[in-house]
């Protein structure tokens, strides 16, 4: 892929990729943007090796997911969930906190579950595609999706009950 084609593809895929990373980083938009920048730089450096343009998006998401995992390995931030929940209820009207419940719910999933759930429900990838993208087996992805969905539904239902 030529650098000009790369720029065109990036323009198209940039926003969905950033949204995916925001969800993966549980609402930490600055961190998500740092990962997105790193992802796109890695992609730029390797774009000449990509022969098939139609695979660009899946390739980009694979880089993004691996970059996210590398970031996680490098730093394990401590996060007090109770405090985050308090913040979300206090400033719920603010647009920035619109998805706070979802972020809190996502944060309670394991990294792999969160990745699989987001690739499936947010990005619309199939189980097989997610398996290829995350370099896992199909059965592992199915398990992550099943657990992730159960956890997410339970958390969201509990949050809704608490609100009522």
């Amino acid at each position: 892929m030529l650098p000009e084609q790369f720029a065109k593809q990036v323009k198209k895929s940039q926003e969905p990729l950033r949204r995916f990373l925001v969800a993966l980083c549980c609402g930490d938009a600055m961190r998500a943007d740092d990962i997105a920048q790193e992802t796109l730089i890695k992609a730029y450096l390797g774009c000449e090796r990509l022969a098939n343009d139609t695979q660009f998006e899946a390739w980009l998401y694979r880089i993004a997911y691996n970059t996210y995992l590398n970031h996680l390995r490098q730093e394990r931030p401590t996060f007090c969930l109770a405090e985050a929940a308090k913040v979300s209820t206090q400033v719920q009207a603010d647009d920035a906190f619109k998805y706070q419940d979802l972020y809190i719910a996502l944060r309670q999933l394991s990294d792999k579950e969160r990745g699989s759930v987001l690739l499936f429900y947010l990005e619309g990838y199939s189980v097989e595609e997610i398996a290829a993208l995350t370099e896992s087996s199909v059965s592992a992805v199915k398990q992550q999706l099943s657990r992730g969905r159960t956890h997410l539904r339970a958390i969201i239902l509990t949050n809704n009950d608490l609100k009522q």
Partner: protein, 135 residues
């Protein structure tokens, strides 16, 4: 990307993510940051490419000059042997072996290596943009 009908399809979760439109930090700033990084990468890549070419040219020049000097010195061995053996240094009696051959080969190797190294650094610095001789 394929939207399929897997048993994992869950309308509640799908709806939840379908409406997921978080406010992203400025796209212009993001693109500008990315553009600057990509430009920096291009500059570094160009410099790396130029430096690789320069090194290759310097290496070829050093090898060629080393071979030529080595060959010339090699052709001069019989003459040098004759010259040194006519000198009759008193210290040469101390050695059991033929010190003349060792001395000649040492001179030859050090002259060739020194010349090659100097040619390498000379060509390398000359080929640098705005480069000056380091010698």
């Amino acid at each position: 990307m394929t939207h399929n009908t897997d048993p994992f399809q869950d309308s509640q979760l799908s709806d939840l993510f379908a409406n997921f439109r978080p406010q992203l930090p400025s796209t212009e700033l993001f693109s500008e940051r990315l553009r600057l990084k990509m430009e920096a990468i291009d500059i570094v890549q160009q410099k790396q490419k130029a430096s690789k070419t320069r090194y290759r040219a310097a290496l070829i020049a050093a090898s060629v000059s080393g071979c030529i000097v080595g060959l010339l010195l090699g052709l001069m061995i019989p003459n040098m042997m004759r010259l040194i053996s006519n000198l009759h240094f008193p210290a040469m009696i101390l050695f059991d072996f033929d010190i003349t051959t060792v001395a000649i080969w040492s001179v030859m190797v050090s002259a060739t290596v020194t010349l090659s190294i100097n040619v390498f650094s000379l060509v390398n610095s000359r080929l640098q943009p705005g480069g000056q001789s380091s010698l």
